[in-house]
């Protein structure tokens, strides 16, 4: 029940408060079970979103309650939407066609911190987003995200049977991810 008490993590924007609050609630409800007893840094789950905004991979790496398949898709798309909205937060005049990130503006959500979880997102140059939810005190999530990106380029993109932007169903990718997160958790 303490999961409902969520902080906004430093982003204050009145018109987006409601949808932001909803995504924080969704993630924290997902991660509320028996954390108070665990002290170590645990990574909860990984989500991968393609450039169109749909979820192509989701997996949990510790014992958290499972949502339905559609709920995960919804979480993914909501995050994609918020990520896009976050690029408009800073009052920088954007010339047409230029990426806001290059002008000193915002390029999206990188980190989202709450009482019970921490969400770190890494957006690649090809607009594929990798994000991890983990324990709030986890130190090096971005390093892990880079490793996940490397595994993605190796075992997903070099697979001739994988179609771009489709859900990821590559066995080798999952084997190596399991190995990575077993070492981490």
């Amino acid at each position: 029940s303490s999961g409902i008490n969520a902080e906004y993590g430093g982003i204050f924007c009145k018109q987006h408060k409601l949808c932001f609050f909803s995504i924080v609630i969704a993630f924290s409800l997902n991660t509320t079970t028996h954390f108070k007893t665990q002290k170590e840094m645990v990574i909860f789950s990984l989500y991968i979103i393609n450039k169109a905004g749909s979820l192509i991979y989701q997996n949990d790496f510790s014992a958290i309650p499972k949502l339905g398949g559609n709920d995960y898709l919804r979480l993914g798309s909501t995050f994609h939407g918020l990520h896009a909205i976050a690029t408009t937060f800073l009052p920088v005049t954007i010339m047409s066609g230029l990426d806001p990130g290059t002008l000193g503006g915002s390029s999206g959500i990188e980190l989202l911190e709450a009482d019970t979880f921490k969400l770190q997102c890494y957006q690649t140059v090809t607009n594929v987003k990798f994000y991890l939810t983990a324990d709030p005190s986890h130190p090096n999530l971005d390093q892990i995200l880079h490793t996940v990106y490397e595994l993605y380029t190796d075992y997903v993109l070099k697979n001739p049977f994988y179609e771009m932007d489709m859900p990821i169903r590559c066995e080798l990718f999952e084997i190596y991810l399991d190995k990575l997160f077993q070492n981490e958790n």
Partner: protein
């Protein structure tokens, strides 16, 4: 004075941006050991002398010289070249594209394996010629075990950087042998989906082996299979070599 020289393989690209005569002479003398194309050497010295008085024409000429030296016909390159390595990622993408290309042109999985094997046969014939020449052994392999150990050690080492993991003779059939590899390089990044079950992209390597054996006058059929290994989730790949009956007869 900035003079930069690069040597790539057998040919030498030479770009000079300073008119200093002595300096270029010294450097050319130092680079004698790097030259392997002697016919172009004298030509270069000649041009360096003549055009050394002018700043711009030398730079310009350097560029022309370098472009002339780079375009060596592939058939003229010496066969005993030093070992060169290709990036694994480059090969993986190329192989992935080969598989996808074949996949668009077939209707059945077996045909896909057959197509990959056909490409492999072409590669295998060339691999045989080149590496038998490079090995410089005087006698041609006439024994079954001889050619198999050639494939198992030499060919695997030049293609994949290490020897194959095991060579076994089948106990039930006397014309079957198996070469296996725990981590097949071509399959390293490939996870075949379940609905294409049975397909192994190492059919390409099976084709290479078949090309080698065919070229060495040991006709055989080679197929690739994945064998599950306990304790590991990644399967090992086995090439099953089935020799034609006349080969077995001949070997007795």
């Amino acid at each position: 004075a900035v003079v930069s020289t690069q040597s790539t393989g057998n040919y030498h690209t030479f770009s000079v941006s300073s008119p200093s005569l002595i300096l270029t002479q010294l450097l050319v003398l130092c680079d004698i050991s790097l030259y392997s194309l002697n016919t172009h050497f004298l030509l270069l010295i000649f041009f360096v002398y003549i055009f050394n008085f002018s700043f711009f024409s030398l730079t310009f000429f350097g560029l022309i010289m370098s472009s002339k030296l780079v375009s060596v016909n592939i058939v003229d390159r010496p066969l005993t070249k030093a070992k060169t390595e290709v990036s694994l990622s480059a090969f993986a993408f190329l192989f992935s594209e080969l598989v996808q290309y074949s996949q668009t042109r077939v209707h059945h999985i077996n045909d896909l394996e057959r197509r990959l094997a056909d490409v492999g046969v072409l590669v295998g014939q060339r691999v045989l010629e080149l590496y038998v020449w490079r090995e410089k052994s005087s006698k041609r392999e006439t024994k079954l075990l001889g050619i198999l150990s050639f494939v198992y050690s030499t060919v695997w080492k030049v293609l994949f950087g290490k020897q194959a993991d095991s060579l076994e003779k089948s106990t039930e059939q006397e014309d079957e042998y198996m070469i296996s590899d725990n981590t097949m390089l071509v399959n390293r990044f490939i996870s075949t989906p379940k609905d294409l079950g049975g397909l192994n992209c190492a059919a390409f390597v099976a084709g290479v082996v078949e090309g080698i054996l065919d070229g060495a006058e040991f006709p055989a059929r080679v197929t690739a299979h994945s064998v599950a290994v306990e304790g590991q989730r990644i399967q090992k790949t086995t090439k099953l070599i089935k020799f034609n009956p006349e080969v077995i007869e001949r070997d007795k």
